[in-house]
């Protein structure tokens, strides 16, 4: 598709949409809830439109950074406000825009402290967009942490089930991971060749010795791996998913976890390719643990959200496995999985949140026969579940195919063992579906109302994305392919 290049600083505009909306929301008195919601919705819709435009106008054949925006910030510390887009982040920006758009729609029913809720959401999203588009390590870190704190508030104020513990664990854990990044970034800056936080400049100017590469890569990997829920740093994520309110879960599992994996690619692999190669086998083993172990643990859960939480652990393992293969297909698959898992898990949470609001429980044993009472929401959940178990025609299938082929080609034993998860995933997803949606109707939930037309929209958008990219995966691959190729120097 040939769309002419965009003339204005599109990336900053995307970033500014939520920021301006945030200011507007903060200045609006809290009692005008509809105005607040509308402002948020308009902002998220604007980011969605702009992101789609960006995806179309972005030149996929060119592996280098495009739409570069630079602005000196603190010159003496090499800090620049710098944004750019390439294959790695273009899809992530789109993902974020889709998820926040749906997230805002899904949280239309929030009544408790509406203003604070939407302010937090917008703030969070600004942080996420920032991480995805910046090319300066300082701003990367800044946005990264910006994205974490609103999550704490969202969970603590609007959450459920053990929320204080979960929120604190999530926050501390993520920041613990970022501590390693912080030290790593400052170390890079302190090198005499560097003296800048600009990613591109560092790549050009600095040659890291193998030893340094190994150490820095693994510390960054652990830092990012925490956010990507890499085994054994994953336990914050199911707890966090469970405790968070619906829209926060969507963003959290849909986008926030992807920041970690994105960071590994954007910074870890980009700056330290040799370190990445050195650690790849280790990471592959961890990823395998994620995939199989996460799926196994998911079979034992009784809370619907925990099941999805652990399935996220399992699916993020596929992303990590793709990264560990250090091949173009593996990277493509990892990115694809990030995207489709983001959409899928957002859909999951959009459904579970709705069920929880209606039935006041998420326990498998207390639910049943919902397909009868609420066929639409059940259908959406089942679609998400089918995507989760890798049904062809959905995004996840292609992603898993790419990663699996790459993994089997690179680490046969690990790759083949990881296939086991396909079976286990089918088992727990279908068991959950069977318990919750099938079986005789549960008279406790007779009054449960199915989603109406308005609430239909966000979920339908998500399903549409899943199927579209599942059927036409090459569109996505064309975005990322040149960049992953360049990333690997292939």
């Amino acid at each position: 598709m040939s769309v002419p290049p965009i003339e204005f600083p599109i990336l900053s505009t995307i970033l500014l949409c939520p920021v301006i909306a945030l200011l507007a929301v903060l200045l609006t008195p809290g009692r005008y809830t509809t105005a607040i919601k509308l402002v948020s919705l308009v902002a998220s819709a604007a980011t969605l439109v702009l992101s789609i435009w960006l995806c179309l106008a972005f030149n996929a054949k060119d592996p280098s950074f495009q739409y570069i925006e630079r602005l000196d910030w603190v010159r003496s510390y090499g800090i620049q406000y710098a944004n750019a887009v390439d294959g790695l982040n273009v899809a992530m920006i789109l993902l974020t825009a889709i998820v926040i758009f749906c997230g805002i729609l899904v949280s239309w029913g929030v009544t408790y402290r509406t203003k604070d809720f939407f302010a937090n959401m917008l703030f969070l999203v600004a942080g996420v967009f920032g991480v995805f588009m910046t090319t300066n390590l300082f701003f990367f870190f800044l946005f990264y942490e910006v994205a974490v704190i609103p999550m704490y508030l969202l969970i603590v104020i609007w959450g459920s089930t053990n929320k204080q513990y979960a929120a604190m664990k999530l926050t501390l854990y993520l920041l613990l991971g970022s501590a390693l990044m912080f030290a790593g970034f400052l170390y890079i800056y302190s090198l005499p060749d560097a003296r800048t936080f600009d990613l591109l400049a560092i790549k050009q100017q600095v040659t890291f010795s193998p030893m340094v590469q190994n150490i820095l890569y693994i510390s960054l990997f652990v830092g990012f791996g925490v956010l990507a829920a890499c085994f054994p740093f994953h336990v914050w994520s199911p707890d966090g998913h469970v405790a968070a309110p619906t829209a926060a879960s969507m963003l959290h599992a849909g986008v926030l976890m992807k920041l970690g994996a994105f960071g590994i690619l954007r910074i870890g692999v980009y700056l330290f390719p040799d370190g990445a190669r050195f650690w790849a086998p280790t990471i592959a083993v961890l990823a395998l643990c994620n995939i199989v172990y996460g799926a196994m643990v998911a079979t034992q859960q009784r809370d619907l959200k925990y099941i999805i939480g652990y399935s996220s652990v399992s699916h993020m393992g596929i992303v990590l496995l793709g990264i560990a293969t250090m091949t173009v297909s593996g990277f493509n698959g990892a990115l694809f999985q990030m995207f489709s898992h983001g959409i899928m898990t957002a859909l999951f949470f959009a459904c579970v949140g709705f069920i929880y609001d209606g039935c006041h429980t998420r326990m498998l044993d207390e639910l049943g026969g919902l397909s009868k009472t609420a066929p639409r929401i059940s259908a959406f959940f089942i679609i998400a579940g089918l995507c989760g178990l890798g049904l062809p025609g959905m995004g996840s299938f292609v992603a898993e195919l790419l990663v699996t082929v790459a993994a089997i080609g690179t680490y046969p034993v690990i790759g083949i063992t990881s296939l086991l998860a396909l079976l286990v995933t089918a088992y727990y997803v279908l068991s959950a579906v069977q318990k919750v949606f099938y079986g005789p109707e549960n008279h406790h939930h007779k009054d449960f109302k199915d989603i109406n037309g308005f609430q239909f929209i966000p979920r339908a958008v998500l399903v549409g994305c899943l199927i579209f990219f599942g059927v036409f995966p090459q569109i996505f691959l064309d975005w990322v392919n040149a960049s992953t190729r360049a990333l690997l120097g292939a």
Binding site: G30, W73, V74, R75, S76, Y77, D116, F138, F141, L142, F143, E145, V146, V148, I149, Y152, L153, V156, I157, Q164, M168, T171, L172, L175, L176, S178, A179, L180, F182, A183, L186, Y187, Y189, S190
Partner: protein
């Protein structure tokens, strides 16, 4: 004369307050408060306005330069906030003399920032300390005496050790000014006696900064002093200490062994402060431990011994004063409402419902203390640790960041109380005076502005430091 404008303003204020102290009762106290505020604001403006000049006075024992003027502005602003807080504290002394002590201690701190000779430094330090001891004791409470005495005796011992160190330094360098120290230092960097003397001398500075191993007074004094005095100890006093240490280190250089020693202290300070703060219920005490930890961070930046280190220390001291002002402002409002000068975390329950703006300021101040972007504390920590990392202190930096994560636990606990817990039944909305609201707004804006666009202040600090260190 214009270069001493700030000091003269303080002197005038002190004289005025002295005159007012003849009177008794509410009216002179209000006058004294007004005069004090006027003095503080004037001093802040005067220091800010004369921030371009470099003058040496009194035979090289006193210097007026951009760095000192910067610190002076910070101290004066912090003083203004503290003075305003005396108005609301439930257990503030209603005497006029109290304002005298505030101004005296601020004057002492101001003088500290410009001292380049040991005599003037000693006098300035003691001037500020004595006033603070008295302020700490000015609360009508048995514990206040106890806290103040501990503060005093620790300070006295620290002064004694400091004097010993200075005497040895004088003996080694043949002069009692920083200039003499600078001259002699390069030849002495590996002299154990010199390093020992540096360590002894810095003892008093560590006391001021409430760093390990002379931090023990801090929790007690913070807890027992009236809120306004605690705020002064936590903000202006820290800024003064950072100024002195910067000057001292610039003059002496940072020998490797000394840096190692400081690093060790920084390490213990942050660990001890942060972990002990996990177990505090009294918010003032909690903030005391947090300040011990923050002392560790500041030392980490200072021991880099580079222009970057000193300028980032200035930046951080400014930011630190700002965010502590924010935190104490909220604490004082809660304390005033609860009629209890030592609010516990429980008193913060439901703050977000009772006064959303104040809760927001508390949130930002605490997050800034924990170093969360996009707030000033984050940028401060970034530049501070960046300076340390440049000198290869990667372990301290890593440890420092990990410590900030630990610190987040207790900061967030406070946040949780204000946002999540329900206010006790029957509690009223918390009312704010317009000035307090304005003050809170200023702090809010400052935290965000310095976090998002720190460039002007950082550049100022760099140029100020390079004016001294060359």
């Amino acid at each position: 004369m214009t270069s001493l404008m700030t000091e003269l303003i303080y002197l005038t204020g002190i004289l005025g307050t002295l005159c007012l102290a003849i009177g008794r009762g509410e009216r002179p106290r209000r006058w004294a408060l007004g005069l004090g505020l006027l003095t503080a604001v004037a001093a802040a403006i005067a220091s800010a306005c004369s921030s371009g000049s470099v003058t040496e006075l009194f035979g090289g024992t006193y210097r007026v330069d951009p760095l000192s003027q910067g610190y002076k502005a910070v101290i004066a602003s912090a003083l203004a906030v503290c003075l305003w807080l005396t108005e609301r504290g439930p257990s503030e002394s209603r005497r006029v003399e109290v304002y005298l002590f505030y101004l005296c201690s601020a004057l002492g701190l101001t003088l500290m920032t410009g001292s380049t000779g040991f005599v003037s430094l000693y006098v300035a330090m003691e001037l500020s300390s004595y006033s603070l001891y008295l302020l700490a004791a000015s609360r009508e409470d048995r514990r206040a005496t106890e806290g103040a005495l501990r503060y005093l005796l620790t300070g006295a011992i620290a002064s004694g050790v400091f004097l010993w160190g200075v005497s040895i330094l004088c003996g080694l360098t043949g002069g009692a000014t920083f200039a003499a120290l600078t001259q002699a230092a390069p030849a002495l960097t590996s002299d154990p006696l010199f390093i020992g003397a540096l360590a002894l001398t810095s003892f008093a500075f560590l006391f001021k900064l409430s760093a390990f191993p002379v931090h023990f007074w801090a929790p007690d004094a913070y807890q027992s002093a009236p809120l306004a005095a605690t705020t002064l100890i936590a903000t202006a006093s820290k800024a003064g200490a950072v100024a002195v240490i910067s000057r001292f280190l610039i003059a002496s250089g940072v020998p490797v062994a000394f840096a190692g020693w400081t690093g060790l202290l920084a390490f213990v300070s942050m660990t001890l402060g942060n972990t002990a703060a996990l177990h505090q219920a009294d918010v003032k005490r909690l903030l005391a431990y947090s300040s011990i930890a923050q002392a560790g961070y500041i030392l980490t930046g200072l021991l880099a011994g580079t222009a970057d280190g000193y300028s980032s220390a200035f930046f951080y001291a400014t930011v630190y004063a700002l965010m502590n002002c924010g935190a104490f402002l909220v604490v004082s409002a809660v304390a005033a409402d609860a009629k209890n000068d030592n609010p516990t975390v429980r008193h913060f329950d439901g703050l977000a419902d009772r006064q959303p703006f104040l809760a927001l300021v508390l949130l930002l101040s605490l997050l800034s203390l924990a170093g969360i972007p996009p707030l000033a504390g984050f940028t401060g920590k970034w530049v501070l640790f960046s300076a340390a990392m440049d000198q290869g202190h990667w372990f301290l930096v890593l440890w420092g960041v990990l410590n900030s994560v630990v610190s987040l636990f207790y900061y967030l606990t406070l946040v949780k109380h204000s946002y999540l817990e329900k206010a006790p039944a029957g509690s009223q909305p918390l009312r704010l005076t317009p000035v307090t609201r304005l003050l809170a707004l200023a702090i809010f804006a400052g935290l965000v502005f310095l976090g998002v666009y720190p460039t002007p202040l950082i550049e100022y600090a760099r140029s100020a430091v390079s004016a001294i260190a060359g």
